[in-house]
């Protein structure tokens, strides 16, 4: 226990602050994120838990004389370690030993939430319950006797309405207060079947003989129950510390119990917990008949096979309309402002030419790209948050799952994938709405094959030269190739690296709710912030690197004219690399200039066109004529396919890296380059076969 300090706002000059470590936990969709944001007032460090794509948020707040350090644990139904989320949450509680654990409980769904409560109490955590969604509980006619439940559980319960900031202050106050109190001597104990209780007693006795609690800091009763539940983590920990005997003994007891009870002990334990919960709810929860006519009606419309799909198409279409029609012009304005006002200042305002070009052509270019993303990201995330908060996304999942599950994806992945057609960056970020680590990684791997808006100008340019009159079917065919490759990749990945052919998941179906604007804004800000911070530096870095490779070559520094002078650029490293790669692309009919343009396309795919204009040394207006001398329909089509499939732009790569880590990002890049090369090559071969006959 930490020292107790008397609160006195005037005399207290001691700056040494007391730190209270708090973990916040709860079932999925109970309002945990909202509550976390309210407690930390939006100030939090966001990252991933080590090794997985599960979001980790840590916030610090000062409250009078106390600093609360609060960690948001993944949404879980139990702490059994069924999934990576549960393992993370459990390890955090056992290893980091937070002073206080706050469980956010959905008041409209108390029983199922209390399963986790019982587990937390059994683990001997110092628990506070935030009884959230009190407004909905009231609407649904659910009355909870908070005082009675508090007494019986020996656990503070604070009713809250997170979205309306009701009860949050009280929760913080109580958390601090409770951290200063000693652990209550009375505890709520789950009552198991008498036979199981006997076994627990016996194991506890053995454990205390060995002094396990002292050595490992684990609660006896909890260890005993976990052993009976065949918990692999606990077994492992005990074995590692030389307590194999007790593990063996527990195994024997399990076997005996199974004989006696005629059922598996672990299942009996779960049933017993629920019996305890039902007893509690009979005592303390009162339900009058629910009125959910509206939810049912809306549900029937939104999940209707025909109407549901129509609504979905309209929703997605309006989403794109809003973000790209409102967001894109703002982006353009930003980029124009940068190039007409800031660029000249940097480029010509500084004496040293090298330095000014570094800033203008390297750094500013990267920053410009980051900035142009923001308006589109902002609108898209606002819309996605809206759809999420209003409760629409789970319905989309239900509607599509039937089809997507064949590819190892749950129906939830549909929205991020569609967003990918607009822009890959928000699509990758929005996979956060998906449940599992595997599902996120799988979707992230295939999103780059969704042909984003930046690739379209290239298709338009090339089809207008080589496929006059049939532009639209040709362009559609490219999108279709992208989707096909994506789905095939999904099957391949889910069968190989993820070993899971059918996603198994549980999705909450919340009632439809009016979302709070503030919550939507703060959510989209979180997305944008993580893009800026985590992907931003990489984007600027790559932009500078490409700048360096363009103005230097094997003969050394070429001068910054190299950026605009085709003569000079052909001596740069960029050209040198491209020339080395030329033999690999001979059968496409491309020379080094195409390869160099594609490399520059890594900055952003739309850069390919302007790069070609520079490298072929013509204005963009004359590019069409020039290109028609170098390409034929086949090499043009293979170029478009290659543009579609090859390594996504650096903003996407940076986002992938920041979401799933360097190793996986690297794997995706290599895979995508390979697929692009193979697909484009087989196209050429196929065309050759058709053309020449057999």
């Amino acid at each position: 226990m930490r020292f107790h300090k008397k609160r006195n706002n005037y005399v207290e000059i001691d700056l040494e602050k007391k730190i209270v470590k708090v973990a916040i936990i709860g079932n999925p969709n109970v309002g945990k994120s909202v509550l976390f944001n309210k407690i930390t007032r939006g100030k939090a460090w966001v990252g991933n838990w080590p090794g997985v794509t599960v979001e980790k948020k840590v916030g610090k707040i000062k409250f009078n004389n106390v600093v609360i350090e609060i960690t948001d644990l993944p949404g879980v139904y139990s702490l059994t370690a069924n999934s990576i989320d549960e393992l993370i949450a459990r390890r955090f509680i056992l290893e980091e030993k937070p002073d206080i654990v706050i469980q956010v409980v959905n008041a409209t769904n108390l029983e199922r939430n209390m399963y986790l409560t019982l587990q937390l109490l059994e683990m001997d955590t110092k628990l506070i319950i935030a009884l959230n969604m009190m407004d909905l509980a009231e609407k649904e006619g659910i009355k909870i006797n908070v005082e009675g439940l508090e007494k019986e559980l020996h656990t503070p319960i604070i009713p809250t309405i997170a979205i309306k900031n009701v009860g949050v202050r009280e929760l913080i106050r109580r958390t601090i207060e409770y951290s200063e109190e000693s652990t209550p001597s009375m505890k709520f104990k789950v009552r198991y079947d008498p036979e199981i209780e006997k076994a627990i007693e016996m194991i506890i006795e053995e454990l205390s003989k060995l002094g396990v609690e002292r050595k490992l800091g684990l609660n006896y009763r909890w260890v005993a129950v976990r052993l009976l539940e065949d918990d692999h983590e606990v077994t492992r920990i005990l074995k590692e510390n030389g307590f194999e005997n007790i593990v063996e003994k527990a195994l024997e007891v399990r076997r005996e119990l199974k004989e006696k009870l005629k059922t598996d002990v672990e299942f009996m334990i779960i049933e017993n917990r629920y019996q305890n919960i039902l007893e509690l709810s009979q005592k303390y929860v009162e339900r009058s008949i629910r009125r959910e006519k509206l939810t049912n009606l809306i549900d029937r419309i939104l999940t209707h096979p025909l109407i549901g799909f129509t609504v979905f198409i309209v929703v997605v279409y309006s989403m794109f309309l809003l973000s790209f029609n409102v967001g894109a012009p703002i982006s353009e304005l930003v980029s124009e402002a940068l190039s007409t006002y800031l660029y000249p200042v940097l480029r010509y305002g500084i004496q040293n030419e090298f330095f000014s070009s570094l800033l203008a052509d390297g750094v500013l270019k990267g920053v410009g790209i980051i900035l142009t993303f923001i308006p589109i990201l902002f609108f898209l995330f606002l819309e996605i948050s809206f759809l999420e908060d209003v409760g629409y996304l789970p319905r989309v999942a239900f509607l599509f799952d039937r089809y997507t599950s064949k590819f190892g994806l749950s129906g939830r992945a549909v929205l991020p994938l569609l967003v990918g057609f607009g822009c890959n960056v928000p699509a990758i970020l929005s996979t956060r709405v998906l449940g599992s680590d595997k599902e996120r990684k799988l979707s992230i791997a295939i999103i780059p094959f969704m042909s984003c808006g930046a690739r379209l100008p290239i298709y338009i340019l090339f089809t207008s030269i080589f496929f006059k009159g049939i532009e639209i079917p040709i362009i559609l065919s490219i999108y279709l190739v992208g989707v096909t490759v994506a789905l095939m990749t999904a099957i391949l990945f889910s069968k190989t690296i993820f070993h899971e052919t059918q996603p198994s998941y549980i999705i909450e179906m919340p009632p439809y709710l009016l979302p709070s604007i503030q919550n939507m804004l703060s959510k989209s800000w979180t997305y944008i912030k993580s893009f800026l911070i985590r992907a931003g530096s990489i984007i600027v870095g790559i932009s500078v690197l490409i700048w360096v490779l363009s103005i230097t070559g094997p003969e050394g520094y070429l001068g910054i004219e190299s950026l605009t002078d085709p003569e000079k650029i052909s001596n740069s490293w960029l050209a040198t690399f491209s020339k080395t790669l030329e033999p690999l692309f001979k059968h496409f009919g491309w020379d080094w200039r195409v390869i160099a343009s594609l490399m520059l396309g890594f900055i952003a795919k739309e850069v390919i066109i302007s790069s070609m204009a520079v490298i072929y040394s013509v204005g963009e207006e004359n590019l069409m004529i020039e290109l028609s001398n170098y390409f034929n329909p086949l090499s043009a089509y293979s170029l478009m396919i290659f543009t579609l499939l090859y390594t996504p732009c650096m903003a996407t790569v940076a986002t992938i890296r920041s979401e799933v880590g360097l190793k996986y990002a690297f794997m995706i890049i290599v895979y995508e380059l390979m697929i692009a090369y193979l697909t484009a090559s087989s196209l050429i071969v196929l065309a050759g076969v058709i053309h020449h006959g057999f």
């Binding site: 059994t80 069924n82 672990e266 799952d401």
Partner: protein
């Protein structure tokens, strides 16, 4: 009473029916996961929506309203009440 004849997988249940869980035929992990959210043998649930062969939305006071995938639903054996 619970003759095998009248029980079938949850994935095959008509929308709007009330059923009682008879058993879960999946592996240990799946059984545990479902039981921990309140889908226990003997539990009565309402099948709100069924997108056969796709996910199923079920509901009761303990569980609340949730959607489970076809794979899971086909391993929950139920009888009509």
């Amino acid at each position: 009473m619970t003759s095998k004849h009248h029980s079938f997988p949850l994935s095959n249940v008509k929308e709007g029916s009330r059923v009682r869980v008879v058993e879960i035929t999946g592996g240990r992990g799946l059984t545990r996961r479902l039981m921990e959210i309140g889908i226990l043998p003997g539990t009565e649930i309402e099948v709100v929506k069924n997108n056969f062969p796709g996910p199923v939305i079920i509901k009761n006071e303990t569980i609340g309203s949730i959607c489970i995938g076809y794979g899971m639903a086909s391993k929950i054996i139920v009888e009509v009440v």
